[in-house]
Each structure stands twice: as structure tokens, then as C-alpha cells.
Amino acid sequence: MTEETLGECLSRHGISRRSFLKFCTVTASLMALPPGAAAQMAEALARQRRPSVIWLSFQECTGCTESLTRSYAPSLESLIFDFISLDYHHTLSAAAGHQVEAALDKAIADNHGNYLVIVDGSIPLGAKGAYSTVAGVSNVESLKRVAEGAAAVIAVGTCAAYGGLPMAQPNPTGAVGVSELVKDKPVVNVPGCPPIPEVMTGVLAHFLTFGSLPELDVHGRPLAFFGDSIHNRCYRRPFYDQGKFAKRFDDAGARAGWCLYELGCKGPTTYNACATVKWNQGLTFPIQSGHGCIGCSEPNFWDKGSFYKPLSTAESIAGGGMIAATTVGVALGAGAAWISRKRQDDIVGGK
């Protein structure tokens, strides 16, 4: 933990008090915190010394880091990385090799029990963890070692939260999410492929302000951002209620911006802040861009059937199986009738 406070750090970056208060107000309102929370958050964050954060990247595509660092620069969201002392991050570290590993050891030793661990990517358990290693250490060993001295663990992205794409059937590497391995520390899941930057900063701001993690839903996600479905918050919802649906991605309904339910949108079963916070500084989100939600912030979203089949349809009812079932039924019925007739013949000679 460095000596400089966040307030001092922001001043050094030329961030005005007004901008900072605006950020706190937006973050507090996004998380549905009480009216006084914005001021409380501003005061607490300004006084807060930068906590040490260790970022572990495992089986991932770096999309989560891209999302969080490429928010519309120079925004306060991107400067969240100045709110924290990011002591270890594969992608962002200037150092490499044994030097960066030494930084990790130092961060663990200096801040034992107080640092935050952010994880992106799933953890492979197959072949004794050999599918993914850093500096010769398997991901599972790294996570156990680093999480042991952590105050809390934040699983960023669906891979870290629930296993994500690497865990999709047949899960060749035996991938799992963080909460499958870390049982004795608070774990917050910030899923999404990738997750929304403001959700990430909201969770960090809450932790720094109140010293605790926000309230979570059944899947370990912050309720403030994952409390309602995409469908319920979607600007196209009125079209669903009116029965106006796009039938194809290029028809008149699609051009008119009608509901994408018939094209397989998973908005009704997906919980995230996409429809409200949106992306690229509130510019748009996938449904607004014309594609249905694929449910990327839900566990096992990759294995829940086609992205393009409506939610109300059945998966995997095979025509061959149904023909076979019909054939069996016909054979059983004919057999039963034949036995009955035969018994009649045996008793009364068919009369």
C-alpha cells in the first residue's frame, strides 16, 4: 500500500474535485446506494491510500484487460488504475521475467492480508494444471498461493467467474472458475465477455469506500449491476410487449429496431448492466447494435444451446429419436393387440 492518498494522486493527474464528485455520484447511483453515499464515497476515496492489487491472468484472451483499460481515455474509469497500486499484471507490467515475479513476491510479503486479487481467465486443472503456467508455476498453484494472503478476490470476466469459454464442452483443459478453488476468501464475480468497465470500478469503489464487498446475487455478482435482466431494462422491450419482432437480421422489423426475441436474444435470462450502463461511454450495447444478447454474463452460456434459437424452443429434440419412439410405440400397440386377439382365440376359438 503506497503512502500517497487517492485524492493526492488525482490532483497530480489534474482531475478536478468537481469531476471526482461526478464520478462518485454516478458510481453511487449506478450501484443504487443511498443518496448520501456519493459524498461518503468521495470522502473515503480521497482519503484512501492506494491498496495493492495483484492481477492474475490465466486462460484468457486479454479481452477483459482490453475492456477495462481501453474505456474512453482519459476517463476516470481508466484512472481507476491510479486509484490502486497495480503491483503485478502480465500485460501491463513494464518489467518482465524474474523481475516481475520478484514484484509479485514483494507485493504479497508487504501487504499480506490486505491486498486485492483480480483474476481474469479460467484455471485449468487437467494434466495437473500443465495447460497454463506462468514462470513455470501452474495457474492453480499461483492462485492458491496469492489468494492465501488476499483480503478479497475479484473474478473479472466470465472465464474467471464461471470457467467461461475454456470450460465449454468438452472442457479439454478441465477449466474451472475462481470460486471453485477459493473457498476461504470473499469472491466477487464480475462476469461478461468482456465485463463492463464501470461495473469493475464500481466494485473497487465500494470496497475502498465501505471496506466490504457489495451485496451479491446467487451467482456471486454485485446485485447493483446484475439485479435485473437485460430484457427488463432493454429499450426494445416495448416492442416485445406490442408483439413486434424482427424475423430476420435484415428485414423491415430489424431495421425498425423491433425486439430480437425470435432471433434468439437471451436478454430475458441474462442479468447484466449492458442495457443501462452500456459500452463506450454509454454509446451502445449489442442489442442496440442489432444483435440479440448471447447471455455472456451467465454461467455456462456457451453450452446453453444456439445463440439464434428463441428461448421458448426446445434444444436437441432429434427427429430420428422421435421417429424411433413412434416406431417403438406402434410395435408395442400392435403387439399388445395381437396378444389380446390370440388370447381371445385361445379361449373361444376366435368367435
Partner: protein
Amino acid sequence: MDLLTFARGPALQAAFTIFLIGTFWRLLGVLLLRRKLDHSEPRQPALAGAFKGQIAHLWPYQPFASRVMASYLLGYAFHIGLVVVIFFYLPHILFIQDLFGVSWPALPHAVVNAVGGITLMALVALLVKRLMNPVTRLISNFDDYFTWFVTVTPLVTGMLAVAQVGARYETLLALHLLSVALLLIWFPFGKLMHAFFFVAARATTGMIFERRGTHS
């Protein structure tokens, strides 16, 4: 595998398999039975009775009308209501279209919701009627009550899912699909088979009466 994935996948697949096996088993098992020979001289050709029988039972027989009319009307209300809800609600049409490749226009959600409410009230009224009357209560068995249950449950869970009341939408949708699976599994083995048998039963009865020269 979560509950919704299970419901949309293995549960419905198993239910459809059992439904098809059971339905064809019972249909052919009954229809291929040898008919009892009638050695009497027919008063008139029996075949017309097969059609008369279908019509005759659409409305109460006049001498009994006052006693059974309420049951008939409630029966019509929930049968027509079920047809509307099952075949004219958009998500259901998408389900059918996905399976068979055919579709037709849907009714507005508000209309289907209203019809669903009327259907539910008719079904509840019929259950109360069954329980209040000592005779129907005496002759009712497990099949009667369980058939009512598997008919009502998809309706209730479906309406809850639409309204998003009681649980998260994906849970309600999964429960709805599982209740449909239960209905499909029970269908061939209980009184729901009347959906297929009623035509044959009315035809048979009609032909017997026609042959005797009596009213269907």
C-alpha cells in the same frame, strides 16, 4: 447443467419420447382390438352413426340439460382457452415452428393473458364442482385429480413466467417447461388420452345406437 438447460434439453426430449411411445402404444393397442360381434339384424346402416355421434355429444341431451349445462360450458371455456393459449401465444408458436417448421399469426400477449386467466378460473371451478358434489367426489380417483394437476400446472407456471412473479424468469420458464414435460409423460397413461380417444369413442357409441335405430 442449470435447470433451464435441463428443461429445454433432456427433460423435453425424454418427455416427447415417452409421449410418442405411450400414445401410439395405447392408440393401436385399443384400436386394433377385435370388436365384439353383434349377431342382431341391423335396423339401419351403422356408419352414419359414427358422424352423428360426433355431433350429438357436442351439446347436452335435452332431458339432462339443466343438470349438466354448467359442466358443459365450463368444459368449453377451458378447452377453447387452452387451444388459444397453447396455439396462439407467440413463444408457443416459435416452439412448434422449431419442431415442425409451420407457423401462423399469434394473438396479442394481452389477449392470451386474459384467456389464460379465464381458463384457469374455469379449471378451478370444475375442480370445486367435482369436490362439492358427493357423487362426483365418490367416483373420482387419482387419475382425475392428477390429470387436472398436470393440466393446470403448465398454465399457472406459464402465467407466472410471463408476469415474472415468484422467482427469477429463467427459473419460472424452466418450471413451466418441466411441467409441460410432466404433462407429456402423463398424457398417454391417464385421462388426457381422451384427446385422441374421444373421436373413436363417440363413433363407436354412435354406430351401436344407429344400428339399433336409437338416438345417439
